[in-house]
């Protein structure tokens, strides 16, 4: 019986190894072709289901038509977005076909995670900033404050709290930046995601938040939350009556422009020819009706920068968040 079992085990193992080999071979042939004829891998540095994932799948769909190649989405979550980004930075055989959907985690991650083994600016080429989602400074409907000025004056007198969706999120860092610039007594209250953070804001447990626009738009419209300002450089089409923080001007807020940006990056070795092809394709994608309406539903504006400008933007962001993280005492 034992002998039968052993030989059976051997067979099963052999079959498993054979299967593995076959899969490995099929993968390697798929990647043997040169850009842009082979498959393109779009790495999402977060788990399925988030904004980054949904956006990436939409873009992959459209990019597929424009490039006339398969665009395969691959989720590689971990440590903010730094696990996937670090892997891309190391390059390797697939780097020539791989693009990654970067977001504020790319710059904030560089500020708050210690000992990253890559340079968030120099190790990559920056293809195209696709969309920008503004954050909105919101207070509960029951809040006595109707303007940024009133809020700042009050928060200088007394302790106040702001909710955020997790350490290092753009919502968190916006709050910390606001606190630093306005010299107010704000305490960060962390939650596991915006879904968990919202009830605390709606119920008045926290005083303010700098939430992403799509998360709070319906609550602003229904009157459950009051929007005091938007964080983008220009007013948002979705909330035309709400001023920007820059417009407020006082309390150093003229420097406060921050959005949740999303854009595609690649390894520094990404060839000129490939960059060119990608940019043309992405330009076309951004013109597509499907993309425009999708961005609109997210409350997003189309991205402004590409290439060298995009790179400069990233460099400035990294520097800014490093300062904010340092002042806020967030781990370095």
């Amino acid at each position: 019986m034992a002998g039968v079992q052993k030989s059976l085990l051997k067979k099963v193992c052999l079959a498993a190894c054979g299967g593995g080999l076959a899969v490995a071979m099929s993968v390697s042939t798929a990647h043997a072709n040169e850009w842009p004829t082979g498959d393109v891998r779009l790495v999402v540095p977060y788990a399925p289901g988030g904004t980054t994932d949904v956006l990436s799948r939409r873009v992959a769909d459209l990019l597929q038509d424009e490039l006339d190649a398969n665009v395969v989405v691959e989720n590689r979550p971990g440590a903010g977005s730094t696990v996937a980004t670090g892997r891309l930075a190391r390059g390797g055989r697939d780097a020539a076909h791989t693009i990654l959907m970067a977001s504020p985690g790319h710059t904030i991650g560089a500020a708050i995670y210690p000992d990253l083994d890559y340079d968030p600016v120099e190790d990559f080429v920056f293809l195209q900033n696709l969309i920008d989602i503004p954050n909105v400074m919101v207070v509960p409907a029951s809040s006595p404050y109707d303007s940024v000025e009133e809020f700042v004056e009050a928060a200088r007198e007394q302790n106040m709290t702001f909710s955020h969706s997790g350490v290092g999120s753009s919502i968190h860092m916006s709050g910390e930046l606001f606190k630093t610039l306005t010299e107010t007594n704000l305490t960060a209250v962390p939650f596991a995601g915006s879904g968990a953070a919202l009830p605390a804001l709606l119920g008045g447990d926290v005083d303010v938040s700098f939430e992403n626009m799509p998360t709070v738009l319906s609550h602003i419209r229904s009157g459950d939350l009051k929007a005091l300002a938007v964080t983008s450089a220009e007013r948002s089409e979705h909330l035309p009556d709400v001023p920007t923080l820059v417009e407020v001007g006082d309390y150093n807020l003229d420097q406060f422009v921050t959005t949740a940006w999303f854009g595609l990056i690649a390894h520094e070795s990404f060839s000129e020819e490939a960059q060119e092809a990608m940019r043309t394709a992405l330009d076309a994608v951004m013109q597509r009706e499907e993309f425009v309406s999708f961005a609109d539903q997210l409350g997003a504006e189309p991205g402004q920068v590409a290439g060298e400008e995009f790179k400069q933007f990233i460099a400035q962001e990294v520097e800014r968040w490093q300062e904010v993280a340092e002042q806020a005492g967030i781990s370095q």
């Binding site: 289901g49 988030g50 971990g78 209250v189 879904g195 539903q297 997210l298």
Partner: protein
Amino acid sequence: MDMFSEVLHLFLSLDNFLAIALGVVIGVVVGSIPGLTATMAVALALPFTFTMEPVAAILLLVGIYKGGMYGGSITAILIRTPGSPASACTLLDGYPMAQQGHAKKALKTALYSSVIADFISNIALIFFAAYLAKIALNFGAPEFFWLICFSLTIIISLASGSMIKGLLAALMGILLSLVGLDEVYGSQRLTFGNYNLMDSISFIPLLIGLFAIPEIIEFYRKKALPHLKAKASGVGMTLAELKRCLKSIIRGSLIGVIIGAIPGTGATAAAFISYSDARRRSPNRDNFGKGEVEGVAAAEAGNNGVAGATMIPLLSLGIPGDVITAIILGAFMVHGLTPGPIMFQENLTLIYALFVGIMFSSLVLLVVGNGAIKYFSLIADIPKSILFPIVLMFCVYGAYAVNNDTFDVWLMLGFGVLGYIFNRAAIPAAPFLIGFILGPMFEDNLRRSLLIGHNDLAIFVRGPITWFFIALTLGSILLAIYRYVAARRQSVSASATQESP
């Protein structure tokens, strides 16, 4: 009447029926494969719904969600590998049942309690959404803190056998749950500089390692398991058993509904809370963990009770309580719909059509589940010498699939060794899991409450909900002490009568 016909018009289309059926089938299959979760399936299905009608699109995703919630229990029962985190609790009694030759009974019990809980959850969604949403909004960090305290007293009731070993296991669970990024200051805790540990230890590799691997080691060590009676041809759940479990199922469903309505808790916690509640009340208390039908029923009722109820904060407040509802929120928005109070004014017929579809999905789950059991329970008949290498392959694949990372495979194998040591030393795994799941929730809500209350302890007794859970916590501890003392007294008097000539 006009409204009624409009709703029917919206709902009664072949697309909707197909969407629900397809969704439930995908959910059951994906849910039953370790490492592939309903969350992934919903995320992957989302792009396909862009071109569908809104009702069909949402129903497809809801179907996957519900099917996945049940599907996870299939492999948990048959091969001790939970297909999804929420079914970890089901295997505590489900797998022993399968080993005793009652695989089919366990699967049927899981299915029937899932369907009943799902149905109750849907009723709650349809009739009490507004009311439950209000409770959810009043459920802040301090209220959460006390709910978790109450749930932690579960460990007392789950520590079968030795209390010391139970507490030891729970503390180990809590210790491991501390690994990762500190939620408030962002500092790294116990990561040893390893980036893979930065987001905390992944739950699925832990589950697979802890439960599936020790069975495989045990098999190859002894070349045979002492209990090889598993047969697919056994009987299903009898009516008498269903009657006996009904109270636990209903109570578990209600626990699931409340937990589902509060954003951010999740089905796994609900399953464990329901399970221990059932155990505390059951006359068959001592049989829990050894193959008790009521244990399977309570666990499955708990996690499926969550499914309908998570739609409550989503539809009535526009707040997604977990990742799946966040994706469903995305699907709504792609179709130009924004869940929340406004949708109840502007798209009422659509909401009612969804409600009809969601009710219908419970029925589909029953049919699909029954079909699945027919084929899946054949797994119980496969000789272990053939089955276990395949299970091992699935373990490796499942651990890898979570983050597409080999690190998780090593983690899974490490937990396999730990699980084996647990088995040998008779340390119960359930308190370990509870510690791992609830530990972080306890810490986060404690710190969150203190931050919100500016370090004033008064926030912990701020309202009726906190008082209610404080009373429950104290009551639960007192009951445990009373039972412990009573049991001691009984054994002392029993030994006294034995000694007296």
